[in-house]
């Protein structure tokens, strides 16, 4: 199998009794007893404070981490059984500050996974052009620049284009807009929402910003101290009775500016 089947309803992610622990002095569980099903084509936002385990949950999906207990299934196959290189090449990944390769041009960065997959040259070039346009960057102007010659927002756009390059059915995003100024952030959030709706990808998006979660999510999953404590469609999330939901809602009430 070289690719996840985009059209299949089997194409979802499932956590079954997942715990993750690091052997060390504290031996604390970073993720504890998580059961979660992520349906195909939805944008699921993992919301929580720093250290609540959201990033770990994300890394359990593409096998960067393997659960110490339970199983993570991607397309009904445990990450323990997946060839991890194959799995990761079919899952897009975007992080804060984008993690672009500074010694690659924008075009080379976007072309990374297709190049690893040995696509023919013309097909790669066409795909790079298409993607740069998709994220609102004129290929003529930007393709040959290096990441250091871009603004933070532009780098993040390239990061999204790179993640989408091989048309993966799943996209993992770890606070991708967290380091941007509020104006650029709002701009990228708007564009990303419309992009997400058009692309029909299964997206798992990590943030600590309730405003961002409400804006982007079809479903919000709230994490607190290593556990999933609440989940609801975005429209109903604020009505949940959980005290942590109230804490987050209080952060909204503070009004404009930086998230709490």
């Amino acid at each position: 199998m070289t690719k996840l089947d985009t059209n299949s309803q089997l194409n979802f992610i499932e956590f079954r009794g997942v715990s993750f622990r690091v052997d060390g002095l504290t031996n604390r569980e970073i993720v504890s007893g998580v059961n979660l099903t992520i349906p195909h084509g939805k944008t699921l936002v993992l919301l929580g404070r720093s250290g609540s385990g959201k990033t770990t949950l994300l890394k359990l999906i593409n096998g960067m981490l393997i659960p110490t207990e339970g199983e993570v299934l991607v397309q009904q196959r445990s990450t323990r059984q997946w060839d991890l290189i194959r799995l990761r090449r079919t899952i897009g990944y975007v992080i804060q500050e984008a993690g672009l390769f500074p010694h690659f041009t924008v075009a080379q960065n976007v072309a990374l996974v297709p190049t690893l997959e040995n696509w023919p040259r013309e097909r790669i070039d066409a795909r790079v052009n298409e993607l740069l346009q998709l994220v609102g960057m004129a290929p003529k102007e930007f393709a040959h620049r290096r990441p250091r010659e871009l603004s933070g927002g532009q780098r993040q756009r390239v990061g999204v284009a790179r993640a989408l390059a091989a048309d993966p059915p799943i996209l993992l995003m770890d606070e991708p807009f967290g380091a941007l100024d509020p104006v650029t952030r709002a701009e990228l959030q708007r564009e990303f929402r419309s992009l997400a709706r058009r692309l029909e990808k299964t997206i798992v998006f990590v943030t600590h910003d309730l405003r961002e979660a409400l804006f982007l999510a079809s479903e919000i999953v709230l994490m607190q101290s290593s556990r999933v404590v609440a989940s609801a469609p975005a429209s109903e999330f604020l009505k949940l009775p959980h005290p942590e939901v109230a804490s987050f809602a209080a952060s909204l009430a503070l009004g404009a500016g930086e998230p709490a």
Binding site: R86, R89, I95, G99, F101, P102, L116
Partner: protein, 210 residues
């Protein structure tokens, strides 16, 4: 007789000793690079060998150079009098700066870059050769530069075990208390070191990725 007259009179000899010296340094450096750079890559993923390799290289560096030449003479195959022994000693000295810089360069890459490389499905080998190595290149080169300058200096001592080079002037100058002879060895050696520093420094800056 002034040093200048001596230089002019013996320019052919000085030139040939300089070329000898450069030959010694070049061969030693090529061997040291061929050992240290792959070894540095290897110990990134092999913890158990890491301490051993870096420790051994550090210890080698602490042996006084004249003593190291002396120790090598009685060893079969690599020992004896002449160029071969000298090159072995020079290689042993050059290992540490290159090995350490290779290891440090390969392991001080921005974690976000390595994380995305892994998450994109690059294999360990691809991450090594397409990400770590190109990004570490200027640091590795800085190590090569340090080692080269060091080796140009240490190679003058190689004359003590009959390896020739600019050291032969220096040793004769010391024995005969002749400043002109001494300078005929010391000045070209210093110029070589400055030149190597300059050229490798330029290359290093060109390879630096920001």
């Amino acid at each position: 007789m002034t040093a200048w007259h001596f230089f002019v009179q013996h320019r052919a000899e000085i030139l040939s000793a300089t070329l000898d010296h450069m030959g010694l340094v070049l061969i030693a450096m090529l061997i040291a690079i061929a050992i240290s750079v792959p070894l540095g890559m290897f110990i990134v993923y092999h913890k158990s060998l890491r301490t051993l390799a870096l420790g051994t290289a550090s210890i080698l560096q602490t042996i006084p150079s004249l003593a190291l030449f002396g120790f090598l003479i009685p060893i079969p195959f690599i020992g004896g009098i002449g160029k071969r022994t000298a090159i072995v000693a020079l290689v042993l000295y050059a290992l540490l700066p290159i090995l350490r810089n290779t290891y440090v360069g390969l392991t001080t890459i921005d974690p976000a870059i390595l994380e995305s490389a892994e998450a994109m499905g690059m294999t360990r080998r691809q991450i090594m050769f397409r990400v770590r190595f190109p990004l570490a290149l200027s640091v590795i080169l800085a190590g090569i530069r340090t080692a080269t300058i060091l080796t140009i200096g240490v190679a003058t001592i190689a004359a003590a075990i009959g390896a020739g080079g600019l050291g032969s002037f220096i040793f004769r100058g010391v024995a005969l208390v002749n400043d002109a002879l001494l300078l005929a060895g010391a000045i070209p050696a210093a110029l070589l070191a400055i030149l190597a520093d300059f050229l490798l420094g330029r290359l290093e800056r060109r390879l630096k990725v920001t």
